[in-house]
Amino acid sequence: MTMLAIKGLCSGYGKIDVLHDLGLDILQGQIITLIGANGAGKSTLLKTISGLLRPTAGSIEFEGANIARRPPYKIVEQGISHVPEGRAILKRMTVLDNLRMGAYVRSDSEVERDIESVLARFPALLERRLQMAGTLSGGEQQMLAIGRALVARPRLLLLDEPSLGLAPKIVTQIFFTLRELQKEGKTILLVEQNARQALRVADHGYVLERGRIIYSGSGQELLNMPEVQRTYLGQSAA
């Protein structure tokens, strides 16, 4: 089942379009990885999907409904959670309060239980649940950001560079967590500079260059493509 269908998308900042006539499909339950050079438009794409940016043309259909010009909070209500680059957590609030804010759009009684399951998934957060989020290490902040997004019970998770600035051990943990989330039924759209690991964990991948998709294929196919290896993976490709 197609969860997200993007057609002819143009979007950018002010008068300058960064994305040009972009189209892609995400099937339910997949992990999709987006790689590309800086400035290629990966973050722009995520921001346009989550409503932080308005597209100038094109359509974005989520589970059949066109969400292209809706305000961000409505898109969160639809079931899409975005973890922006740099995490966007509330540094002057505690870990627990951050998680509660993540559930802002929910009014049902299961919120506490979901918060507890996030804390169980990330024991480091459980330990620091009353600490100010700004005092957490980079890896812990990333886990908090993902946990915060999860509490909204999204069906689609947008992650912008989750491995940025993190120790190798933590990066492995994060990718492991993504695999687990997939098993639990979540669909994940992942933007990553750590191209190798991101393609390894993906079902399907897209390569973005200057606002357009130039390659598309399964994670393994892209890993083996010489053009991709040359431009993005470097000499020591696995």
């Binding site: 989550s50 409503g51 932080l52 305000p71 961000p72 909070y73 969160v76 209500e77 959670s81 975005h82 973890v83 922006p84 966007a88 957590i89 509330l90 540094k91 002057r92 609030m93 309060d97 509660r100 804010m101 993540g102 802002y104 759009v105 915060r148 997004a149 909204a152």
Partner: protein, 319 residues
């Protein structure tokens, strides 16, 4: 009601303090979302003139005119709030400042509300003190509830990081407008009450200095919790009285002690300095502000200063 219990002078001081608390909250509301407004005096003016017109020219009772005046100010606030959404920092300050100035010019040139001569013969409200007390109590209750509510936390998170708040599903636009509108409404109510106490307002009454004083109340009192505006307003309002008392004590010194140089020069200086009219008030505020920013920049009252009184915890400790 209080007219028999408290003399007129003390009453007017209490009213003065009360109105200052109300305007402090009018700054506090938009500030909770990160919007700094130095135009609250402008909203006071809208409320003041609206209520004056409603009572004097349409015969409305105070109990109707004051809230309606507040609502009118609130509507104006939401209108100004729209352009304010996209503007940050110093540019927002300029927008709110500009708004305040525009109101003053309108009032100055509109003869219906007195024009250059000002608005005279505004009906006097004998129950201003009661009204002020009621409004202050309501505000403390309302902002106390707000602080502990999800909406209050949402406002704090908007203040900290608007993008993060957006991706959490918080309707940043609506909440910012709401905060701005509440601030304007509260300022309008304060302005209305003020007008019915002074019975005369003109285009110079609600000036920029007043807006800045309002800001200082909240900054000194502490902007992170709902008791801050109260403490700031009370402390800074009582300051003139405190200084005047000091001056009176100074005058009690025997003349012989201060007849000679340099004591007489020091006496003259202190005596003049403590002569607390409008102009000197700002000097003292300025000094207080500088000292506060160095010693305690978060304000007098912060979240930790308030003991968390909770029945459950008391029971747990004394069980």
């Amino acid at each position: 009601m209080f007219n028999t219990l408290i003399d007129g002078y003390t009453q007017s001081i209490l009213i003065f303090i009360g109105i200052n608390i109300i305007v402090a909250y009018s700054f506090f509301a938009p500030f909770k979302t990160g919007q700094v407004s130095i135009g609250q005096a402008g909203f006071m003016a809208v409320g003041a003139y609206a209520s004056a017109v409603l009572t004097q020219k349409f015969g409305a009772p105070f109990i109707v005119s004051v809230p309606v005046a507040g609502l009118i100010a609130g509507v104006v606030g939401v209108v100004i709030g729209f352009p304010a959404l996209r503007i940050k920092g110093i540019y927002l300050l300029l927008l709110t400042l500009g708004f305040s100035e525009i109101i003053q010019v309108i009032v100055l040139s509109w003869d219906y509300v007195g024009g250059a001569q000002g608005y005279r013969n505004i009906p006097f409200n004998r129950h201003t003190l009661e009204s002020v007390i009621v409004v202050v109590a309501l505000l403390i209750f309302f902002f106390g509830r707000l602080e502990r509510s999800s909406l209050g936390r949402a406002m704090d998170s908007i203040h900290q990081d608007e993008t993060a708040s957006e991706v959490m599903g918080i309707d940043v636009v609506r909440i910012k407008l709401f905060a701005f509108g509440i601030g304007a409404t509260v300022a309008g109510i304060a302005g209305a009450l003020y007008a019915h106490q002074l019975t005369y307002v003109d285009s110079t009454t609600f000036n920029v200095m007043m807006s800045i004083e309002i800001l200082i109340f909240v900054v000194v009192g502490g902007a992170s919790t709902y008791w801050g505006p109260v403490v700031g307003a009370v402390v800074l309002s009582l300051l003139p009285e405190l200084l005047r008392t000091l001056r009176e004590w100074l005058e009690l010194l025997p003349v012989a002690w201060t007849n000679f140089y340099p004591a007489d020069k020091i006496y003259d200086f202190l005596h003049g300095f403590l002569d607390f009219e409008n102009a000197k008030r700002l000097i003292v505020y300025g000094i207080i502000l500088i000292v506060m920013m160095i010693v305690r920049p978060d304000g007098l009252i912060t979240r930790d200063s308030i003991p968390r009184i909770s029945l459950k915890r008391w029971r747990a400790r004394h069980a």
